[in-house]
Amino acid sequence: MIEAEAPRAKAGRAPDVFRPGGWIPMQGYSDEEEVDFAIVGTGAGGGTLACKLAEAGFSVVAFEAGPFWRPLEDFASDERAQGGLYWTDDRITGGADPIELGSNNCGRGVGGTTVHYTMIALRWRPEWFEARSKLGYARDWPISFDELEPYYEEAEEALKVSGPVDYPWSRRRRRYPYRAHEVNASGLVLARGCERIGIKWSPLPLATLSAPRGMAHPCIYRGFCAYGCSTNAKQSVLVTFIPRAIKAGAEIRDHAMVGRIEMKDGRATGLLYHREGRWRRQKARHVVVAGYAIETPRLLLNSACPDFPDGLANDEGFVGTHLMCHSGPGVWGYLDEEIRSYKAPPCMAVTEHWNYDDTAKDFHGGYAFMSQGPLAAGWAQDVATNRGLWGMALRNEMTRYNHSAGLRIVGEVEPRRENRVEVVPDEKDQFGLPIPRVTFSYSDNDRRLMRHSIGSMRSVLDAAGARELWDDDDTSHLMGGCAMGTSPKDSVTNADGRTWAIPNLWICDGSLFPTSGGVNPSLTIQALACRIGDRIAAMAARGEL
């Protein structure tokens, strides 16, 4: 295990992520000092917003339950040793299709889940923001693609996304900041298959460097992206927005677990948090919750008080509901060529054909699929548990690892009220806080989409020359739980992430998503965070905060 058990960011300094053993100066605030914004979480939502608000001149403290790493010295090239990157506190997962949590979708540490994400940086299909009005399913977002477009661009610039000159989907855009990476063999399997059946494919836009940037070198194609980047080529929030935030005056508090939002007279007054063995209080004029789709609703529910007996911002009972993942069935096969999928970022090629072509679909929504790059232990678990293989049959099958290639979808999942996060009052975590219970079941539409996608992936792999095809079952990402909307009757916040019920309580993470779309959510979360930051600054200038 990598270990950084005690807080590092304190006493006026924070770890310098670019130098082993290095430090950078950091502004500090006392608990008594009422800061403008206390932010819970430092991932794609919270870390990005902390930077935007600090650069706009607000005083900001961001709280992170996990450690503050220096990737260059803390991260090993090893799947098992990197287990400390994930949120592994107790949680219960149930329903007809329980979602695998932990390493599958939950980060813990400054930078959040972006520290172990696969860096896929895709914009949404423009019509998804008006899914109900334009496509006839699910619900509309309270903002349009037009409103978010400049913030997509801002996020892509901030991450120096490497991408092709012409990406074939979403709205036509300027060139990506950095050139595309060479596609690895696993991606070339997807390319060959798509070309043979006559659909478009593209190298993926990725938030990993294809040229030097400041202290960081270009990606060396080591392939451990899902286990933390030890070279800083990955443009996680930890090495992008966080250093910017600190430079602009934000304080980041690592190993600081927030247990409750404190309330008085219908307004949030600050946070109760646990750090260095004791509970402490931070005063704040505004509180932003950015703990991702499980911890955000959990904190709102665990902050129930006499004025808000069902939890904060939960007057209509929406908090925790409409939780979504992306469905993720995969198809795998063997090729004559050596693939060696452990090399380079795990996903390098994509087709979004079925996100944009709605003809001949027996379902609502869309899916993309990407080439895959499992490492040894993860691959072995996949083969063993999905095919039920063990014994010498498993050991022999595993020797074909270097010839295997696969595809996996990011599949849209319907927002449904019964899929939700609750808290379990009689089961407590190590801080004495009620643990979350997640309930999830696919809808009939979700199942039709998955069936359709398996057929598509099989035809692409077959055309690429893969043999002995088999399917597996997985999910990725979490979204929803505190949806934004146009009315308190059907949502938790407005388009700015401001809760309807409590004017100085905000949400800024993937839990805001009213629908899930068919691509990875991180770029959209970061674009939303950039927009919310600008909106808050504009409202403050007009005296509307």
């Binding site: 010295e73 991260f75 090993a76 090239s77 090893d78 799947e79 098992r80 994930y86 949120w87 592994t88 506190d89 107790d90 949680r91 219960i92 997962t93 149930g94 329903g95 329980p98 695998e100 949590l101 932990g102 390493s103 939950c106 060479e182 690895n184 063999a185 070339l188 990606c219 060396i220 194609y221 080591r222 392939g223 451990f224 030890s230 070279t231 060529e337 050596e338 693939i339 060696r340 452990y342 090399k343 380079a344 490492l375 040894a376 232990a377 691959w379 072995a380 678990q381 063993a384 548990t385 063990w390 014994g391 010498m392 498993l394 050991r395 595993m398 020797t399 690892y401 270097n402 997640v438």
Partner: protein
């Protein structure tokens, strides 16, 4: 089930890269600990440990090795530290209870069917029992509320396989590149092998 093992990477040893730029100090430290500091028994009873040794020896048979890759010590460590994956299925008891109950279940099946301990059965009888556990063909008396198939797939097999394929000996036998920092890879295309990668050889 045949116990013959064949690999096209018989000549490849990932540890030969230990002192090359493919390995950095941090990685050498965690892999050295894995190889040299195998933990002692702290959670399982002696009987549970012996049974789990016999079970994992069927899940990952290693007749080709003088010194098998250790698996049970790491399961014991995980249970001692009560370190779960970050979730438990709603139909499963907490981590430690689930493992204890699962081992009880396997032991009960063996004694009921053959009147002897699982570890004293011949390998094909052991495999029969494990296959029945995998497919939920078990007697409720030995399992209580624990779903046998769920225990087998999500806990027992999942963890055993992760531990084995985290060992350099397993990396070598499948031709996996292993640690790769600060030196990663250069040749990414079809059949494109860097000189520091495993070479496939078929006789």
């Amino acid at each position: 089930m045949s116990d013959d093992f064949r690999t096209p990477y018989a000549d490849y040893d990932v540890l030969a890269k230990w002192d090359t730029p493919s390995w950095n100090d941090r990685t050498r430290e965690v892999v050295r600990r894995r190889l040299e500091e195998v933990p002692q028994r702290r959670f399982l009873t002696e009987e549970e440990w012996r049974l789990l040794e016999a079970v994992t020896a069927r899940l990952i048979p290693q007749p080709d090795r003088q010194a098998p890759v250790p698996i049970v010590p790491w399961i014991d460590e995980m249970l001692f530290e009560n370190r779960g994956p970050g979730f438990r299925y709603a139909d499963m008891p907490p981590l430690r209870d689930a493992w204890r109950q699962g081992l009880k279940g396997i032991a009960g099946e063996a004694r009921e069917r053959h009147g002897t301990d699982f570890e004293d059965l011949p390998p094909d009888r052991q495999d029969e029992i494990l296959a029945d556990v995998q497919h939920d063909r078990t007697d409720r008396r030995w399992w209580g509320d624990l779903p046998a198939g769920g225990f087998f797939l999500h806990l027992l097999l999942h963890e055993t396989v992760a531990i084995y394929y985290s060992h350099p000996a397993a990396w070598s036998e499948i031709g996996y590149g292993g640690p790769a920092s600060p030196r990663g890879y250069v040749r990414l295309g079809f059949d494109a092998r860097d000189p520091w990668e495993a070479e496939e050889r078929h006789d």
